[in-house]
Symmetry: C2
Amino acid sequence: MPDMPADEFRRVGHEVVDWIADYLAGIRDYPVVSHVQPGELTQLLPTSAPEQGESIDDILADFRSLVIPGVTHWNHPRFHAYFSVSASAPGILAEMLTAALNVNGMLWKSCPAATELEQVTLGWLREWLGLPPEFFGIIYDTASISTMHAIAAAREFIDPEARTRGSLPNLTVYTSEQAHSSVEKGAIALGIGRDNVRKIAVDADFRMIPAALAQAIEQDISAGRKPCCIVPTAGTTSTSSIDPIPAIADIAERYHAWLHVDASYGGAAAVAPELRHILDGTSRAHSMVINPHKWLFTPIDLSAFYTRRPDILRRAFSLVPEYLRTAEDTSAVNYMDYGVPLGRRFRALKLWFVMRYFGHERIADLIRAHIAWAHELAEDIRSDERFELSAPVPLSLICFRYKGTDEQNRTLLDRINASGIAFLSHTVLNGKFVLRLAIGNIKTTERDLEQVWSFIQSMADDLV
Amino acid sequence: MPDMPADEFRRVGHEVVDWIADYLAGIRDYPVVSHVQPGELTQLLPTSAPEQGESIDDILADFRSLVIPGVTHWNHPRFHAYFSVSASAPGILAEMLTAALNVNGMLWKSCPAATELEQVTLGWLREWLGLPPEFFGIIYDTASISTMHAIAAAREFIDPEARTRGSLPNLTVYTSEQAHSSVEKGAIALGIGRDNVRKIAVDADFRMIPAALAQAIEQDISAGRKPCCIVPTAGTTSTSSIDPIPAIADIAERYHAWLHVDASYGGAAAVAPELRHILDGTSRAHSMVINPHKWLFTPIDLSAFYTRRPDILRRAFSLVPEYLRTAEDTSAVNYMDYGVPLGRRFRALKLWFVMRYFGHERIADLIRAHIAWAHELAEDIRSDERFELSAPVPLSLICFRYKGTDEQNRTLLDRINASGIAFLSHTVLNGKFVLRLAIGNIKTTERDLEQVWSFIQSMADDLV
């Protein structure tokens, strides 16, 4: 019996399910942030793998006693750092099946269900977001990889020779000062270069200024440069600001540049019909990205990328060696043709489970609640004269600070995170150190947020 | 209760475990290749997601009755197409935990255990492969992404200005005619361009000819070009040929080019000490990739990338926005600094489970058995005068053909795959259509291979 015997898998599988059920039910008993020091887990583990196999019970015991203390609990309802995410229970069940099937959906032929379920679920999500039916969907692992593919498609759009000859030195990419670092990183990876990424100024609410964008493009054109890609954001990482996409789309059309909307986090809000304005203008984009693993209760990783020009994305990336040719090359989508990774996990399965189990209304209601709670908490923060809001709260992220020094705010943050009660992160806005509190976990309740805010207030008492 | 209630998760989780246990135990009852036609699953699914949530029992019933018929079973012991892979049971158990924890290991701080377990397990694997201790390990999703990062590091090594200024038009990348398409795709993505990838000729055994490589480099240098990266392969995709890495390393050193060894599939064999010669010369490489999700019984996706120059990889990719700065930026590894993707699943957990559960000896024995069986089957094929081997069998992949027309071989392949008994793929060697039979699944037995070979022989009877 070369693999684990079926009976053993069954027994241990049940134990693991029970552990997960207890973990999810009792997750508030864990400190959100791990207390370990760098190297602490490494010290506890042998420097070599075992020669002889070990019992699965010993491995699981070590998982619980050694690994878990080193885990920062992203699935915790008081994890408010970065963006607050969830692996909902139906998503976890789907991941179990994905692991067992172990398919690689590189070709339609290599697993028809993986390809078709990806098309179907991304069609469903497109409809929830109010995006046009001509948007072609593909799943990548992360928004950074999605955005890299968007910029690569933009290059193919502007300069179809790049694929054979290499990148021209005069392509430019435009995004805002508040954009995610993945735009710049994508341009670096693609050989466009960091110097050729323009970070357009933002207004007082941290939104890209369209006039500044147009001016930068004019200057570049005068200097003999070629505008390639414009990347506005619906929900920036620092403050969740929403760039004025319609005005930016006008500019993209005027200068024939590719428009890619980074809605990795904010796009989820458009699932609630009354919040669709967040994606206004996105239907005019050439591509957009939204991450169901951020605010749609889907386990990491699943980044949904849409483009109205799959022909260009395919032209940028398709390379079909003989050993991957199939009879269905013209009658079905082979997702490997649309990107760098050849291997593709069956990620659509978890999105299918999540969308069906919760349904449109319940997911929209969860998002509405998160936004409403964020507004209530922002009001509480505004009402406490020791604190101030540092940015508007258009979605479910609150940026605020103690009205004191950066050092005091840093101390406050460290104390909150060391407490185990909550995990917040930070940013710098207008030169000041600012705390970020993101709401988005499916288990978060108003009670959790009251507890966090009370605790922050009590910590502030100690700062004086 | 916004997420699934704990009791429901427990009940359904047990059902899913039982389904997986039955699936793994009874996997031979499934046809290896799905019989569905393009669009068949799509037709069976609603065009919109439900407004109201549905019961998990209904979703699982649809999974079994609608999705499963569209699945080609990569985990089946007679899946011999492409490369034969496995999600072993301990790997599946680890994936269940990874999904439940849902961490993002972008920073040490964001989940210390994910970062440290990645360092520890990749250290273990490095030791099993006999690679030098200075090799720094990082997990990417796929070999294509690993190789793209290798070429990006090579560019940073040769031209540190590329990061800011963009790619120079004169960089060249060298690989063989038999190399995986990911080398070319990586060069396209990075803006180096397809025209600047030299596909060096191979010998009669499909191995890169070092003299031809040196000649190509000399010609390029004479033409004012800059050799950037040389990519030999230990186990090519078409035939599993192993390029003469020591001679190629000499050339890389002579011309100061980055040497990246693609051992995605073949590298696993080096786990058996007597087979380490497969990686001869790799210790002189700047980077290498091996995919535990190919031949090390680890669920997809997990590609292990090693480099002796993490400083260069980091210089190529590090971009730290304020909101991701941590107190441990200098005392711990933040893996986000070493690549494009920011989000990172806790992939090391499954490698840790697999390496510990099976141990070094058992994994080496499995690989030895696969290679021995491949040699026996190759002997059987050679002994049947209707067939011929089309390439040497250095590892566990057999390339062979019916001594007839390409059309007859194509018919043979289609009939085998339509039978449900096995899944083989094809390639073209010396202008001829050739069948590929890969051995690598943990559940494959000699009995399976006898059955497959008998069936192929009986199908050949019908060809005449």
